[in-house]
Point group: C2
Chain length 346, copies 2
């Protein structure tokens, strides 16, 4: 089917970001009403901070893998989605300066298929081992009537301890540089859009080769595991070389980099400083989304952005972890109004 | 439809407990492989324990509310299911001697209906405030294709700190007494069975009056909020009067009391020491399940069992919190083989 009518917008794919945004504001008030004296973060941070007696500050986060689970189900590949989940959570609390301690999972399905459940949780356990954290507990729920046979959802909860000197938003200053770390693929966002384009619009099957992508199939490209940036960034974090981290998840670069921006500064990201991998270009072409919408929906090839002072940029880029992960300069911080601007350096 | 063929067994209602049990054993090995030096609990405890540097020991648990969510959806009552979830989680870590610190939720739906999502999370926030814990974070996921329009799932994650002197399994001894605390209803287990009996088999609608239950409707009876036993038990826990706690969830009294039994002792529970509320008797009659199956599926009116030494029993029963919650003696610990036996005192 090559008949194109309108660009496929994210809302058409069944996700209403605006309704979500308005709800988020009302939820913030609810959350505020439960604040105890030990809470050390504001609503909307990458992970919630909680101070224990003594100097220990915990950071916790809850997350899912979105409709990437439906790709896993459709492809019959169940043993990597758990690793996606762990890595996603690890990155979220890393952005709050935390090293992960333990993880708990929630796996819910329509009818328990032990091999599938085992494969999913095997992925969770592999992710935990790779990041050095304990799988402390979990819930496996069989919920006939809510989930279809063969379908499942997966959510995860992580707790870490703030050990890195990472000031965050308050430490970001004019002239700071942005260092991008490449993603491996979509990570865990934009799957409703990608499924609609690849499966519904282009009529591809999970086992089909992806146009112009060599031997990689659609399923392989879509199921590439979310990168954990803990190991690549540990060195520069331990050395205190990073001012803030933005984990690029739902909302893309604009929606996440803004979370570490003071209200009087803008982040200028040069979209020409890297070439989005072929999967992103294909989704861009087939969806015909405008660049703004595209960058607010998909990570476009960047999974984490570090804000570093100008005098640290060279050391950060030369760090073995950052270099090994393919880190590159992608922009800078300038006076502004708290916005993220995608502008070619020209 | 009054034609009864076979007793409605839990497996027929779509939940295969045996497959779950076998999977559980294999998952235990996976979890063991992620164990770090700081993990202080074994697989299968009510909450996972994690030691921080210093004397702090955290206890964490993940849970859902089972297909109680489908009752909430069908009844259009969304503002209490979150409280169920929080209270369930509070009780789980209470059984490991922990006072709750913070909570995170995962709410996933097919199409975001802001009013529904707000009501659900309002319930979560109410439960957090009532138990004195912070709602530290959460994830609201819109997943078209996985969840039907109007349907959602809800999972929660709690972290507490071990502050109560509650020895658990190792402290349970011959001659100890069992003190039961009444449940408010099904709490969050057995809903696949209950829905099948009440809606499918008996043909009742959520708004129908429940036979012999006065003015209470089916929905009201099914959606009664899971009791938090934190406030009722705080006094006796602070005084160190309790040896172990069993939170009666999936698996009923036998499946949960066994979790605090040493292998050389049995727990003798006298089912005639209380009368199961009308809802349980109705489900028993209509399902025609045998007592063993029934007590392994539903809590039958008991939401928490405290194991106390014989010389503490009187003080525990006289405690204002326990008395206010309706606590009563329901059995004792005798030499045995680690089994829970339902036997009338005779």
């Amino acid at each position: 089917m090559t008949d194109r009518v309108d660009p496929i917008r994210y809302r058409d794919a069944g996700v209403d970001l605006r309704a979500a945004e308005s709800l988020t504001k009302r939820l913030a008030a609810l959350v505020e009403g439960t604040r105890t004296a030990d809470v050390g973060s504001d609503f909307g941070s990458f992970g919630g901070r909680f101070r224990l007696p003594g100097a220990t500050e915990l950071v916790a986060s809850a997350d899912g893998v979105g409709t990437k689970v439906l790709v896993a189900v459709r492809a019959g590949v169940h043993d990597t989605i758990g690793e996606d989940l762990v890595n996603h959570c690890v990155n979220d609390i890393l952005a709050e300066g935390a090293e992960p301690l333990f993880f708990l999972d929630y796996f819910a399905c329509g009818a328990l298929e032990p091999e599938v459940a085992y494969a999913v949780i095997e992925g969770v356990a592999r992710g935990c081992r790779a990041n050095g954290l304990a799988l402390l507990g979990g819930e496996t729920a069989e919920m006939p009537g809510l989930y279809g046979v063969g379908e499942y959802d997966l959510a995860g909860f992580i707790v870490g301890r703030r050990v890195f000197d990472l000031p965050g938003r308050s430490g970001v200053a004019e002239g700071d540089r942005l260092v991008a770390l490449p993603s491996s693929g979509l990570h865990t966002n934009g799957y409703s859009l990608a499924r609609r384009i690849l499966f519904d619009h282009m009529g591809l099957a999970p086992g089909d080769a992806l146009p112009d992508l060599g031997a990689e199939t659609v399923a392989e490209a879509l199921l590439r595991v979310h990168v954990s940036y803990l190991a690549p960034l540990r060195g520069v974090l331990e050395q205190g070389r990073v001012r803030a981290l933005a984990h690029i998840t739902g909302g893309g670069i604009p929606g996440n980099l803004v979370r570490v921006l003071p209200s009087d500064l803008d982040a200028i990201v040069d979209p020409e400083s890297w070439e989005p991998p072929r999967l992103f270009r294909l989704l861009a072409e087939e969806s015909r989304l405008e660049a703004g919408d595209l960058y607010e929906t998909l990570n476009m090839g960047v999974g984490m952005i570090a804000v570093v002072s100008a005098d640290q940029e060279r050391a950060v880029l030369a760090d073995p972890g950052v270099r090994g992960a393919g880190g590159f300069p992608c922009g800078e911080i300038r006076p502004g109004t708290g916005r993220v601007r995608l502008e070619p350096a020209g």
